[in-house]
């Protein structure tokens, strides 16, 4: 704080100069002032020799402190650590909450809305996948037949490479590409696939496909087709039994009319049997092979993971991770400052107020 300086009155300045001369012992000093200085100094209070000796001793020994019964602990470091921990917790909570959507989409759980209850229902179906527990086919009773469908949307920086990887991943789990459409220009564009993978390896297939790009969405549904399966199987079995009966009757037929009639019925039965066979195989395929629809689109952000790398950690990934670490660190520091700065300002204001109050009380003592 800069104090306001004012110039001294010339007369006052002159008298102060005379006083300084007297204090300095100048022979030319004003005699009355010199005498006053001499008298005041001669009359100056002097220390008692005993006190002087005690004080000398204390100074020589460096003012030893009396032993404390309990050492006073400095709470500042502990408070600082506690503040940092609090700031870190707040930062982690904030960062974790803010990045939750992103991390969830980048590391999708192989999940579905349907659970065992839905799988055992007659018409269970659903869409959406976020946060749902992944249903395992092993959890479905063997007597139940479930048709599964998964829709997976990926973004990537290189659509062509990702498309190739989709085919490889499908074949690696024993599936096949039912249909595909790929449109690319310089690695950008879009691709869509309809894949058929063994239901028993659906989870594995989705996990492999999810690693090929940034997962934008994942939807899984399940529909119980046990009734349709059993119905088709029963109709097929009945047609086969009818055929066996007709063949036995034909073997026992003796008249031409009877034989002709039986052959006509056997021909009808053969067509019926073929239809029921196709129907049964269709239902069985629906249960044994899950449908996976994959949409791949170009990533608009440079920060998207490079597909086709099989999840390998590249220098680019390292750079992105480093940036992320710096972002989180900066966030933690910012939250820490948000906590510490107001406290410091409050403390400083309180310190200033306490200092002013203490000074005022001290000065008041002189007025007593």
């Amino acid at each position: 704080m800069r104090r306001r300086e004012t110039t001294l009155d010339p007369a006052v300045a002159a008298e102060l100069e005379a006083l300084e001369a007297a204090l300095a012992g100048d022979p030319a000093a004003e005699p009355e002032l010199a005498a006053l200085v001499r008298d005041v100094r001669t009359d100056a209070p002097a220390m008692a020799p005993a006190f002087r000796a005690r004080l000398d001793d204390r100074v020589e020994r460096g003012f030893p402190k009396p032993a404390r019964s309990r050492p006073r602990r400095n709470l500042v470091p502990a408070l600082a650590v506690a503040g940092c921990v609090l700031a870190a917790l707040v930062a982690v909570a904030l960062v974790g909450g803010g990045a939750g959507n992103d991390s969830a989409s980048r590391t999708p759980a192989v999940s579905a809305q349907s659970g065992p209850e839905q799988a055992q229902g007659d018409a269970a179906a659903g869409s959406g996948s976020s946060g749902a527990a992944a249903p395992s086919l092993a959890a479905v009773p063997r007597t139940r037949r479930v048709e599964r469908t998964t829709r997976l949307a990926l973004t990537t920086t290189n659509v062509q490479r990702t498309a190739d990887s989709v085919v490889s991943a499908t074949q690696s789990v024993g599936g096949f590409v039912q249909s595909s459409q790929v449109t690319t220009t310089n690695g950008r564009g879009s691709a869509s696939f309809t894949l058929r993978v063994p239901s028993a390896r659906l989870d594995d297939a989705v996990a492999r496909l999810s690693k090929l790009g940034h997962v934008r969405s994942l939807e899984q549904s399940a529909q119980d087709i046990t009734g349709a399966y059993d119905g088709a199987a029963a109709r097929l079995a009945e047609a086969r039994a009818t055929r066996r009966g007709l063949l036995r009757a034909l073997a026992k037929a003796t008249t031409a009319q009877e034989i002709s009639s039986l052959r006509a019925r056997i021909a009808d039965n053969r067509r019926e049997l073929q239809r029921y066979q196709r129907e049964f195989e269709s239902v069985r395929n629906r249960a044994n092979f899950a449908t996976v629809e994959v949409d791949v689109t170009s990533s608009t952000r440079k920060g998207e993971p490079v597909p086709g790398g099989g999840g390998s950690w590249s220098p680019g990934d390292a750079a992105r991770d480093a940036v992320r670490v710096l972002e989180v660190s900066a966030g933690v520091a910012l939250v820490g400052l948000a906590v510490v700065v107001p406290l410091a300002l409050l403390g400083a204001a309180g310190g200033l107020a306490a200092g002013a109050w203490r000074r005022r009380r001290r000065e008041a003592a002189l007025h007593a």
């Binding site: 004012t6 001294l8 009155d9 220390m47």
Partner: protein, 177 residues
């Protein structure tokens, strides 16, 4: 009277101890005289003097030469200790009676003794703030800038107050008893 003492902030402990002892040797009498003038009580002055030097010893590293001289820093500490003591005691004991007994006069002339008695009475009758200024100027030997640092005022204001205090002291000395 005024001495130049330096105490580097980042000196070694041994050097710091030697520097502090030099400061103590050079200023102990002045600090005691200042405290006595302010408190008008021998035991209180001794306590404040000891407290001031102990605080200064503990706060050696807080001294910053750029903010004033070491003497001004020390007398600032002594002043705070004295004012704390004044506030605590809520009284100002008379010192005038026992002070001359410990201060044998070098001369026995009646005229000189009478003059000192007059000055002593004038000092005792001064306002405590004026008496403090007289002590800082005459006993401690501080210049106006140092007094300004001790009191927390401007140098010109300190000069004005010193001039006023000395004028009052001279008037009190000339006043009929």
């Amino acid at each position: 009277m005024e001495q130049t003492l330096t105490m580097a902030i980042d000196q070694s402990p041994a050097t710091a101890a030697a520097s502090f002892e030099a400061l103590y040797r050079a200023t102990a009498d002045a600090v005691y005289a200042y405290a006595s003038s302010l408190l008008r009580d021998r035991s209180a002055a001794e306590e404040v003097t000891a407290t001031a030097f102990e605080r200064a010893f503990r706060k050696q590293r807080s001294f910053n030469p750029r903010r004033g001289t070491q003497r001004a820093w020390l007398f600032g500490i002594a002043r705070n200790a004295a004012l704390d003591e004044l506030r605590r005691r809520k009284r100002i004991a008379a010192l005038a009676e026992d002070e001359p007994a410990d201060d044998p006069a070098p001369e026995r002339e009646a005229e000189a003794a009478e003059r000192r008695a007059t000055v002593r009475a004038a000092l005792a009758g001064l306002d405590p703030r004026d008496r403090e200024l007289i002590a800082l100027k005459f006993h401690a030997g501080l210049n106006n800038a140092e007094i300004a640092k001790v009191l927390g005022i401007s140098a010109s204001n300190a000069g004005t107050r010193v001039h006023r205090a000395v004028t009052r002291l001279r008037e009190a000395c000339h006043a009929p008893s």
